[in-house]
C-alpha cells in the first residue's frame, strides 16, 4: 500500500481503488460498449435533459469508473435518473453506448445493494415480477403495489387520473396472461443461470 500523502488525501484518492472496474462494466454491457474510448468531452452531460437532478453527469461517472471508485459509482443516483432518451448516445463522438452502460450500472447496484433510494429499483423489480408471472405487463397490479409502497401521500391527487383510466377502459382490473407461460418461464430460468456464470 503506497504511503498516503496530503496531496493524495486532498485529491480524494485515499480510497480503495479498483482498476478492474472499467473493464467489468464494459464487459457486462450489451453490445460493444466503447466505454474505454471516452475522451471526457462532456457532450453527454450537456445533452442530458435530467442532468440537473443527477449527482454526477455521465462524463463524471465515467471518470469515476476509470478511477475505480466502485462504491461511489454504484451509489450514484445518475443511472437511476437516466430516462433512456439516447440524446447523449447519438451525440457521443466516441460512440459509447451510454444508455446501456447505465442499465449495467443499475443491475450492478442492485446486486451489490448499493443504491441510495429504493423507489426505482423496487419499481423495476415489481414490473419484472409481473412480467415473469403473466408474460405481459400488468399496470393495475404494478401501480397499486408501487404507489402504496412508495407514494402513499400521492394517492389522493392520483385518484381522478386512476378513476379516469378505469372508467375510460384504459386500465384493466385483471392481468392478461400469455398462453405458453411455461415456455417463457423455462427460457427465463435458463437465462438466469447463464447470467450467473457469465
Amino acid at each position: 500500500m503506497p504511503q498516503m500523502t496530503d496531496e493524495r488525501v486532498r485529491a480524494g484518492m485515499n480510497r480503495e481503488e479498483d482498476p478492474s472496474l472499467l473493464h467489468e462494466v464494459s464487459m457486462k454491457t450489451a453490445g460493444v460498449s466503447h466505454l474505454e474510448m471516452c475522451i471526457q468531452c462532456g457532450t453527454c452531460g450537456g445533452s442530458c435533459p435530467v442532468a440537473m437532478d443527477m449527482e454526477h453527469t455521465p462524463r463524471m461517472l465515467f471518470a469515476m469508473l476509470r478511477a475505480g471508485m466502485r462504491e461511489e459509482v454504484l451509489r450514484s443516483n445518475t443511472p437511476w435518473l437516466c430516462v433512456s432518451c439516447y440524446h447523449c448516445v447519438v451525440r457521443c463522438p466516441q460512440e459509447v453506448h451510454i444508455a446501456d452502460v447505465m442499465y449495467t450500472l443499475k443491475g450492478m447496484a442492485i446486486k451489490a445493494k448499493l443504491y441510495s433510494d429504493s423507489t426505482a429499483p423496487h419499481f423495476s423489480q415489481t414490473f419484472v415480477d409481473m412480467v415473469e408471472a403473466y408474460g405481459r405487463s400488468y399496470e393495475m397490479g404494478l401501480a397499486s403495489r408501487h404507489y402504496l409502497r412508495h407514494f402513499p401521500l400521492r394517492l389522493p391527487s392520483m385518484m381522478p387520473m386512476g378513476l379516469g383510466m378505469i372508467t375510460k377502459g384504459r386500465m384493466t382490473i385483471t392481468p392478461k396472461k400469455i398462453k405458453h407461460l411455461d415456455q417463457l418461464k423455462s427460457i427465463l430460468h435458463r437465462a438466469k443461470q447463464l447470467e450467473l456464470t457469465s
Binding site: G31, V128, V131, F151, L153, P156, S157, L184, A191, E195
Partner: protein, 337 residues
C-alpha cells in the same frame, strides 16, 4: 396488399387502446394487412434491462423467435420478414436485441441457449424490425395517404411529437434525422393539418420517471406542454403510448406541481389519419383521452361523443384535514410560477 407481422405490445389493449382502435380503422383504406405474432410477451420496457442482461434479452428474443417461425406461412403466400411495432419502446427493444445479438456474438449465443430451453431459436438479422410510422411513410407512401383524405384537417394546429426512442439510437439508419426528424411533420401535412414547427419534437416525456421520480418527470412534461402552448398548438400528436400516457394522464398533476393551468390534448397520429379518412371519432378511440381533445377538434367541425368524465376533484379546502401535498421541493414550484 402490404403484409407485415405485428408486435402490438402491452399498452395497445390497455392505456393506448385508442391507438389500436384507430390503427384497425386505417388498415383497410391503406390496403395493409398486419398479422399478430402469436402468443407474444412483454418486451420488458426499460425495466428488465436494468436488472439482468441475459434474461432481459431472452425475454425480447422470444418474440423475435416466434415472429421468425411465423415469417413464412406453410400454406398460403405473401410471407413477410418485417415486424411492425406501433410502440416506440417495443420497437427499440426488438431492434436493439436483433442488433446487439449480432454485434456481440457471445450475447447472441447465450440468448439462444436460453431460448433452447423453450424449444426456440433466433438467428439475429433474420427479421426487419420497423415502427408503424416508418412503414406508413416509406412503404405505403405519402401520396397514397394523401389520396385517401376525404376530410382535410386544415385549421387544426398541431405540433408533431416524435419522442426519443423512435429516432434514436437508430441502429439501421431508418430516420431522416436523429434529433429533428420530419416523418411525422410530413405525414400530418399530407392530412392537411396546420403543422407547427416543434423543436422539442424528440425531447423525452420522462418515460418511467412519472413512477419513480415524479418531480423530474413533471419538469420534462412542463417543457413539452409549455412550448407547444406558446407556439399556439391546439394539440400534440404522438407515435408512442408512453409519450401519450405521460403527457395526457400526468398533465394535471404537473399543473398542480407548478401552479400552471395547461390544457394540451395529445392524440395518436393514427387517430388523426382516421379522422382525415372520414372515420367517426367514436370508432377511433377519441374521447378516452384524459385531457379532452373535444374543443380542439371542434375547430375543424368534428364533434366528439360525450363519454363518462372522471370524478371531479375535491373543490373545498375545508372539511377533514388532508395530508400535506407530497411535493418535497416547494422551492422549484415557486421559481417557475
Amino acid at each position: 396488399m402490404n403484409k407485415y407481422l405485428l408486435y402490438p405490445g402491452c399498452s395497445m389493449d390497455s392505456s393506448a387502446k385508442a391507438y389500436m382502435e384507430s390503427l384497425n380503422e386505417i388498415l383497410e383504406p391503406l390496403n395493409l394487412h398486419l398479422e399478430e405474432i402469436k402468443d407474444w410477451n412483454c418486451c420488458g420496457a426499460t425495466e428488465y434491462l436494468g436488472i439482468n442482461l441475459i434474461p432481459a434479452y431472452s425475454l425480447i428474443a422470444r418474440n423475435l423467435a416466434l415472429a421468425a417461425k411465423q415469417m413464412n406461412p406453410v400454406n398460403g403466400t405473401g410471407g413477410t420478414r418485417t415486424v411492425v411495432a406501433p410502440c416506440s419502446a417495443c420497437y427499440l427493444n426488438l431492434a436493439k436485441a436483433d442488433y446487439y445479438m449480432q454485434e456481440r456474438p457471445t450475447l447472441g449465443a447465450k440468448v439462444n441457449e436460453a431460448l433452447a430451453a423453450g424449444g426456440l431459436e433466433y438467428k439475429a438479422g433474420t427479421l426487419d424490425v420497423r415502427h408503424l410510422i416508418d412503414v406508413l411513410v416509406y412503404d405505403v407512401g405519402l401520396d397514397t395517404i394523401r389520396s385517401k383524405v376525404v376530410r382535410p384537417l386544415s385549421g387544426l394546429k398541431v405540433v408533431p411529437y416524435m419522442g426519443c426512442m423512435l429516432p434514436r439510437p437508430d441502429y439501421q439508419h431508418r430516420w431522416s434525422d436523429h434529433e429533428h426528424p420530419t416523418e411525422l411533420d410530413d405525414l400530418l401535412r399530407a392530412l392537411g393539418a396546420d403543422v407547427i414547427d416543434y423543436p422539442l419534437t424528440t425531447e423525452c416525456c420522462g418515460g418511467h420517471m412519472t413512477q419513480i421520480g415524479p418531480e423530474t418527470a413533471f419538469e420534462l412534461i412542463r417543457r413539452l406542454v409549455a412550448d407547444a402552448d406558446e407556439r399556439g398548438a391546439q394539440m400534440m400528436v404522438t407515435v408512442c403510448p408512453m409519450c401519450q400516457m405521460n403527457i395526457d394522464a400526468y398533465q394535471n398533476e404537473a399543473n398542480h406541481f407548478f401552479g400552471t393551468n395547461y390544457h394540451m390534448p395529445i392524440l395518436f397520429f393514427t387517430q388523426l389519419m382516421g379522422l382525415a379518412f372520414g372515420k367517426e371519432p367514436g370508432d377511433l378511440g377519441i374521447g378516452v383521452e384524459l385531457v379532452s381533445a373535444r374543443n380542439a377538434l371542434a375547430n375543424i367541425g368534428v364533434e366528439v361523443p360525450v363519454t363518462q368524465e372522471p370524478a371531479a376533484p375535491r373543490k373545498k379546502d375545508e372539511g377533514l384535514p388532508m395530508p400535506r401535498r407530497w411535493t418535497k421541493h416547494e422551492g422549484r414550484k415557486e421559481a417557475v410560477k
